[in-house]
């Protein structure tokens, strides 16, 4: 049941469909895209390489100058695009920063992205930003706080958002529900979609000793609109979400189980440190695409 459905003002859709320049991408394609970071911007701008869609970090474009925004406009014209936030602090005890919301809205209005997402985490306290994706206690208080902020964000932007589960290295107090119940409740209470980060589920499951499959079973199928895949690193038994290497085999296995449960879902390869050449990212995306194709084929068989 959707408690707080968020209406999409018809004006938003009208602007998209009436635009002669921008191609309309109301939803992400059911294909494997790539997280686009600054080292690959020149190549994408100059060579328009094959990629079904891109995702960029919203905050990277908040204070971008005119020439950089012109590059983003160009990419948006040629590819479906998703805006992925890393700094709003949805789980913060502080109020949401209105300036941050305003900058995000200006960017959303400019880009008209296929999706807007944020993390289920906190990043700032007492007006001081830690500029990281920090863990929440899975408490009723934190759940209420996150839901209020998701409601506020969706109302402010005039469109539904997706929220992403993060990796965590600590289990915090008070813990009043498992993480998957927390995540599912946010979607149920706010009507937002979910961005399942399969690597994050795996990292947190290993660090805290829960079952990744139990996590998946707790997530409502219809809420999942996007999937992320990335590579973690291990130091002395702790898995750290570094986005610095290829997706691990165990995470590919979990991805297959995710596709079995949720069906084909738009998927993204993320790589944020030690970023390799673009061809390596395309090869990772092709691996995900091959698995997505099987899921698409199997849905087709079921439908027939």
């Amino acid at each position: 049941m959707v408690v707080n459905p968020v209406p999409v003002p018809s004006g938003v859709l009208d602007r998209v469909t009436s635009s002669a320049v921008a191609r309309t991408h109301a939803t992400l394609p059911l294909a494997a895209g790539i997280g686009l970071r600054s080292p690959h911007l020149p190549l994408v701008r100059e060579q328009s390489p094959a990629c079904p869609w891109f995702e960029v970090h919203s905050e990277n474009w908040f204070s971008a100058g005119g020439p950089a925004l012109a590059v983003l406009d160009r990419i948006r014209r040629d590819y479906p695009l998703s805006l992925h936030g890393v700094g709003l602090s949805l789980g913060g005890a502080d109020d949401l920063c209105l300036g941050h919301l305003e900058q995000l809205k200006a960017l959303v209005d400019r880009v008209q992205p296929a999706a807007v997402s944020e993390h289920l985490c906190w990043s700032a306290i007492g007006g001081r930003w830690l500029n990281d994706l920090l863990p929440l206690p899975y408490s009723r208080e934190a759940l209420d706080r996150v839901c209020d902020h998701v409601d506020q964000m969706q109302e402010f932007l005039g469109r539904p958002i997706l929220v992403e589960n993060v990796s965590s290295y600590l289990r915090l107090l008070p813990e009043e529900m498992p993480e998957w119940t927390f995540v599912a409740e946010v979607a149920r209470r706010t009507g937002c979609g979910l961005l399942l980060d399969v690597n994050n589920i795996y990292v947190s499951a290993c660090n805290h000793g829960f079952s990744a499959d139990e996590f998946l079973a707790g997530i409502p199928v219809s809420a999942v609109k996007e999937i992320h895949l990335a590579g973690y690193e291990e130091t002395e038994g702790l898995l750290v979400d570094t986005h610095s290497r290829p997706v691990w085999p165990a995470v590919w296995d979990l991805y297959v189980r995710v596709l079995n449960r949720f069906g084909p879902v738009s998927t993204l390869i993320e790589w944020d440190q030690d970023i390799p050449d673009f061809a390596t990212l395309q090869a990772e995306a092709a691996k995900a695409q091959a698995l997505l194709d099987i899921a698409l084929e199997s849905r087709h068989v079921h439908a027939a």
Binding site: L88, I125, G126, W129, P135, E141, R171, L173
Partner: protein, 257 residues
Amino acid sequence: MSMLREMQEGFAAAVFGDEAARQRFLGRFIHPACRQAEQGLEAYQTSVQANLASALVATYPVVGAIVGPDFLAAMARTYARLVPSRSGDLNRYGEDLDRFLASYSPTASLPYLPDVARLEWRIQQVHMAPLAPEVDLMGLTLLTNGDWGDLRFQLDPGHQLLASSWPLAQIWEVNQPGYQGDFTVDFEQGETVLIQRQLQRVQVSALAPGEHAFLAALNQGETLMNAVGFATGQNPDFDLGAVLERHLASGLIRRVI
């Protein structure tokens, strides 16, 4: 008080504070079944510090070239502890580095470093400026003798001016990657510099005496006559023709308004 707020305040204190703050946080907010709590907190501490430090390193490459990467990394940790980040947008982080450096004793032997930081922060602002309007200087061709003094110009928003008692343009140039020329810098000679975006690259160049006053006046909407007045007040030999030609050619002067 909210338990969530207490946890988050305790977490921030542990990340930026001393061992006692870490132990207070670990003792109070960690689930008893949490594995590797100390290691988990350390992973966050490392990651927060690394995010802030890499933003500072990216904004201040010349400061980094002068002090060296290891020194800069250590300084970035101190800066992160003492000067809170005030935005979720890391491009806004590091604005106060010049003031921080002015009272940072390990760099006291490099008295020009705060001005280098000031220059690099302005370079970042120039990168972030809106697009320049199309060049439209038709108004110049319509001039008859005598009315040029009333002209006003719109300049490219992608520029900044900075006056320094240090040779900033030279310091910037010799610290560019791949610089092959003479490394001698005359530290006795202060420079006023123009920071200008051209074709997405930002250039730093020294200005002649009077040129700073002239460009600043034009940028504030003063007439050409008044701008020349400010310039000749500083430099009686101010060469209007040469200065105008240079800034029309570089695209800094965009339009007659």
